[in-house]
């Protein structure tokens, strides 16, 4: 019914009709699917939460004399230097050198890779310490200096896995408090934590990956970036409900964007007690309303989305695959779920408020002609299965 080119022309003329995934359902109920599909050009989706598989490539520029960095630390956080001379990769979950981790259980994990990334985007001055073995062409063996993001040639976020399509609800069925990446979980299922923007979440609004693919333009913490690959652990081959919405993890996206253009509000270091550090990101993805089918996919409500409840004291660590129950995001957002007759208070790790803000910011950019859509150059796999790691003898 509409093409990407036609939608982009409407955006460039300043006449595009853009709604957030929160607003679209009421609009379609009022106007009817067919006529709404003609009117609406773009629906913006978004999410905000910890995304551990995130990080960035940095190029420092060459020093005088030159150094071929073999080991390096930014603010005492180790970075990966097994690439070219002054390129490094800084990962979100990297602990600071000498962090006691869980030796004093539960560890505090006050500062790590995610916080360095937050400080970089925030324009702070950071310390680089680098070592090398020295070569004929790169003689310098040690270097200590301070830099900001403006001093770098490139600071490109390259995240192997963001935007999990759906996610577990974590509970703790044991008799001791546990500390997890899903937050603090009280014994005897004393609380439950979820992590998804629900009806606002990108891949829940495009459950079969019909518009979001490799090459799709995305709003990554305010910078204009792309989906560069399927995310790690992406699988399309999962149980789905009658609206084709997965009832567990499923699809993921690998994203990239220029960190120099990011908004620090949406790039936040995370300290998870007893677990480690990470990075929370705000991401918004536009869905082009190409036809009524695509529009209908975005008309989901929280009661349509089921999340699996998993025991993080035994089934998750032992990878048994057992699911205690499924609950809807409507129940989760109401603040209590009932599992095995027990009423459990609900918290969350993702922020709906920040996701909503990101969805509105992207919608505003599209309305202002500042953000164009791009047609995927390849689609995400729909039928690949996930392997698990077999621990075995050499064969």
């Amino acid at each position: 019914m509409k093409t990407y080119e036609e939608i982009n022309k409407k955006i460039e003329s300043g006449k595009a009709v853009v709604l957030t995934a929160e607003e679209v359902l009421d609009y379609v109920n009022k106007k009817g699917l067919e006529s709404a599909a003609k009117e609406i050009d773009v629906v913006t989706t978004a999410t905000f939460g910890p995304m551990c598989s995130s990080g960035c490539f940095i190029n420092f520029g060459h020093s005088k004399p030159r150094i071929r960095i073999s080991e390096a630390w930014i603010e005492d956080v180790p970075v990966y230097a097994g690439i070219a001379a002054v390129d490094v990769y800084l990962g979100a979950t990297q602990l600071r050198y000498n962090d006691p981790a869980n030796m004093e259980y539960p560890g505090l994990f006050k500062y790590g890779g995610g916080h360095v990334i937050e400080d970089l985007v925030g324009g702070k001055s950071l310390q680089l310490f680098a070592l090398s073995y020295g070569t004929d062409d790169y003689p310098l063996k040690e270097l200590r200096t301070w830099f900001t993001i403006n001093d770098l040639n490139q600071a490109i976020m390259v995240n192997p896995r963001n935007c999990y399509q759906n996610y577990n609800v974590a509970v703790n069925a044991s008799d001791k408090r546990i500390y997890t990446y899903m937050g603090i979980l009280e014994p005897n299922m004393g609380n439950a934590n979820y992590s998804s923007a629900g009806r606002l979440s990108p891949l829940l609004n495009d459950p079969l990956y019909e518009t979001i693919g490799i090459g799709t333009s995305v709003w990554l913490a305010g910078a204009h970036g792309h989906v560069y690959a399927e995310g790690t652990q992406h699988t399309g081959d999962v149980p789905r409900n009658k609206l084709d919405i997965p009832t567990s993890g499923a699809g993921t996206l690998a994203l990239t964007a220029d960190m120099k253009k990011m908004n620090p509000k949406f790039v936040r270091g995370v300290s998870l007690r007893g677990y480690g550090v990470s990075l929370a990101l705000g991401i918004a993805i536009p869905i082009p309303i190409l036809n009524p089918t695509v529009l209908k996919r975005t008309c989901i409500s929280d009661r349509d989305i089921l999340a699996p409840v998993v025991d993080y004291s035994s089934d998750y660590p032992n990878n048994t695959g057992k699911i205690l129950a499924h609950v809807t995001y409507e129940e989760l957002r109401n603040g209590t779920i009932t599992i095995k007759g027990k009423r459990i208070p609900v918290g969350s790790m993702s922020s709906y408020a920040m996701a909503l803000e990101a969805a509105h910011l992207l919608a505003d950019e599209i309305r202002r002609k500042d953000f164009l859509l791009s047609k995927p150059i390849a689609m995400l796999p729909k039928s690949n299965k996930l392997n698990s790691l077999k621990i075995k003898r050499r064969t």
Partner: protein, 139 residues
């Protein structure tokens, strides 16, 4: 005039005033009901005390005058627990940890977290739970 009111205070005791039984006198001499939330003496021998005081306004005023004679700094605005709105991302990791719902979602549509200081009992559970360091204690 004789209606009883409850007010929350943070007392800061400078080094020299830590060993005096001030709270005893509040109860005994000024007929006040005292509910201590949290108290700490630092290695510098300074003391912090967060408490609710219930009594008539007249008795409370007289008691505070008495407390001030010990060079104790009295604050009604500074609380022992601070919630930093700028650092809060409204994720909700604190919601099930806060026992009094001082941290809660007031508007289910925006799902923003708000902090009601009057409900806070300074258990400090939110400091442990918050991944973004939005909650911290002044002592």
């Amino acid at each position: 005039m004789n209606d009883k009111v409850t007010k929350k205070f943070l007392f800061f005791f400078p080094k020299c005033e830590c060993e005096k039984p001030i709270i005893y006198h509040l109860v005994k001499d000024y007929n006040l009901i005292v509910n201590v939330f949290r108290a700490k003496v630092t290695p510098n021998e300074e003391g912090y005390l967060v408490l609710d005081i219930t009594g008539t306004q007249e008795d409370i005023d007289k008691a505070l005058e008495f407390v001030r004679t010990f060079k104790v700094a009295i604050s009604t605005t500074t609380k022992g627990l601070n919630w930093n709105k700028e650092k809060c991302t409204h994720c909700g990791a604190c919601l099930t940890q806060c026992p009094t719902n001082a941290l809660r979602i007031t508007n289910p549509k925006t799902r923003e977290i708000s902090f009601d200081e009057s409900k806070c009992i300074e258990c400090l559970a939110c400091i442990t739970a918050c991944p973004f360091g939005a909650c911290d204690s002044v002592f």
